[in-house]
Amino acid sequence: MKWLTASRYVVLPVASVGASWIAVVAVSFLLIRLIPGDPVEIFINHMNVRTTDELIAAYRAEWGLDRSLVVQFAIWLEGFVSLDWGKSFVTGQAVTAELFPRAGWSAAIGFSGMASAILIGYGLGFLAALKPAGVAACLSRLFAIGGQALPAFAVGLIVLWVLAAELQWIRPFSGGVVERLLLPIALVAFFSIGSVSRLVLVGFCEVLNAPYMRTALAKGLGRGEALWRHGRRHAVIVLLAGIAPDLAWVIGGTAVAEIVFGVPGLSERIVAAVAERDYPVLQPYIALVAIWLVVGLRLTAILRRSLDPRIDLSLEVGHR
């Protein structure tokens, strides 16, 4: 029995996460290699050398493109897991050396942005539920509308223009690490706060109408205390159930923030890699994004399950 429980809560989730990850990565691997342009020809054209069949064959052999797709994928997968991501076709440098420092910047922006959005959004949602006509409720609605109706890059550029060009309060391109990260994080957070706070608000409002809430109030608890004590868990559950789009937003949002504020993160390099058909750079990026999404979605599902044992995960085929 014990082994069964362990297999249900540890082995199975890990296996299913691994399976989805490999599926995503394999599909993207195939897609990238279906690209019409041949990276070898593009590379040789760049060097302005006359293209000969031997030259092409030599490069194909060196880059491992002459083998079957399955073998290529197996080699790549082994390399990815053992942190040997190969060399960029274009710059010839090790991909790990190129991407790791950039990944640090991107991860800092993405994680902090998401974390601050959840913290601020949660507080805002709670206050909005407490006082439906108060300042917090109004703010939460504004964030939600703004997050839907405003383009992220537009907000970023205008903020940059006002703060850096007009008022000259900050030096976003030359300042210290904190100075450079502050605005990108704020931008990523700004567009998630709205949806987070709406979800939290929904969670708290459901609790407000529950019979046990009436009991708690009758018992003599203050409104805020009762709501916090009985609702905070439920609000987290609702938030976890609806956060998937925000997990995806962090990827695009970080990209926008990096380009607007000139942070040397992953996105800039990736866009260039697309133009140059630089598979070894593109592939790990997609694999990393896939890890973030697959693990993130699984984790929210498991967290929900542990907060509310009534939720049966095996019934959920996909996740919204």
């Binding site: 993207s28 897609l31 990238i32 279906l34 690209i35 019409p36 342009g37 609605r141 509308i145 839907q148 109706a149 405003l150 383009p151 992220a152 890059f153 537009a154 550029l157 205008i158 940059l160 223009w161 850096a164 060009a165 998937a244 789009p245 997990l247 995806a248 937003w249 990827i251 695009g252 990209a255 926008v256 380009i259 607007v260 996105s267 990736i270 866009v271 697309v274 133009a275 058909r277 593109l282 997609i286 994004v289 999404l293 979605l297 085929v317 996909g318 996740h319 919204r320």
Partner: protein, 249 residues
């Protein structure tokens, strides 16, 4: 809204200047009667480029909306009435697609077909058909429980007839509202992906690509960046206002 549409329509036949004409002697001119919004670093007229850019933006958005709506309705109907295997596969596909970041998808497609407006549109279609399909299926599940639906089938109406008679009037308004809400979002997404450098097609200006091109002038000539930024924001806002009745929910 009407004003913007009129401006776009006029732009098909007439622009104040040739948007592609490079005139280095006229570079970075301040706004004047001749050049309403001034000129860019190559001396091209900014207002003309904006108007022409509006065409490609609106064109891309229209393609995205129409195709995702069409695919969504067909897929939704297949989920609702198809055999179990088809409907389960499609539902899984729709739910999976919803969690894929548009940016990554657009990257992949840009790698596949080359960077350009069509890759962006294709990426958006791949993502945006799913909500239509899922809500159509959900609406249809509810419809199936209604008596008039069962009655019409019992009375011998064929499935296509019943679908036409009962399903379309019951679902199209909801899906239409969804599409309205999506229109504003599509403006933003198209411009965002263009801004990230994925619409490299510089021959035909597009707002996102213009912002991408002009972003280094943010400090010296902010109007070059702010004009397309404002255009995008205003169009998105107007579309949201005009089509999305429940943005306050």
């Amino acid at each position: 809204m009407l004003f913007v549409l009129a401006l776009i329509a006029i732009g098909f036949f007439w622009q104040p200047h040739d948007p592609h004409a490079i005139d280095l002697s006229q570079s970075l001119q301040a706004p004047s009667w001749d050049h309403w919004l001034g000129t860019d670093h190559l001396g091209r007229d900014l207002a003309s480029r904006l108007i022409v850019g509006a065409q490609s933006s609106v064109f891309a958005i229209a393609i995205v909306l129409v195709s995702s709506f069409g695919i969504g309705v067909v897929a939704g109907a297949a989920i609702a009435i198809g055999p179990w295997s088809v409907s389960a596969t499609l539902r899984w596909l729709a739910e999976t697609v919803l969690t894929v970041p548009t940016f990554v998808l657009a990257l992949l497609l840009a790698a596949l077909f080359g960077a350009g407006l069509m890759s962006i549109a294709a990426a958006l279609i791949v993502v945006t058909w799913a909500p239509y399909a899922l809500s159509l299926a959900a609406l249809f599940d509810r419809l199936r429980g209604e008596q008039y639906w069962q009655a019409s089938l019992a009375l011998g109406a064929g499935l296509p007839g019943a679908l036409h008679r009962h399903m379309l009037p019951n679902t199209l308004p909801v899906l239409g509202a969804l599409a309205g809400a999506d229109a504003g979002r599509a403006v933003i997404l198209v411009a965002s992906l263009g801004f990230l450098g994925l619409s490299a097609d510089t021959g035909h200006p597009e707002w996102g690509a213009m912002i991408h091109e002009y972003r280094m002038f943010l400090f010296s000539e902010p109007r070059l960046v702010l004009a397309p930024v404002c255009a995008t924001t205003v169009l998105a806002f107007l579309l949201n206002r005009a089509l999305d009745r429940n943005i306050n929910v």
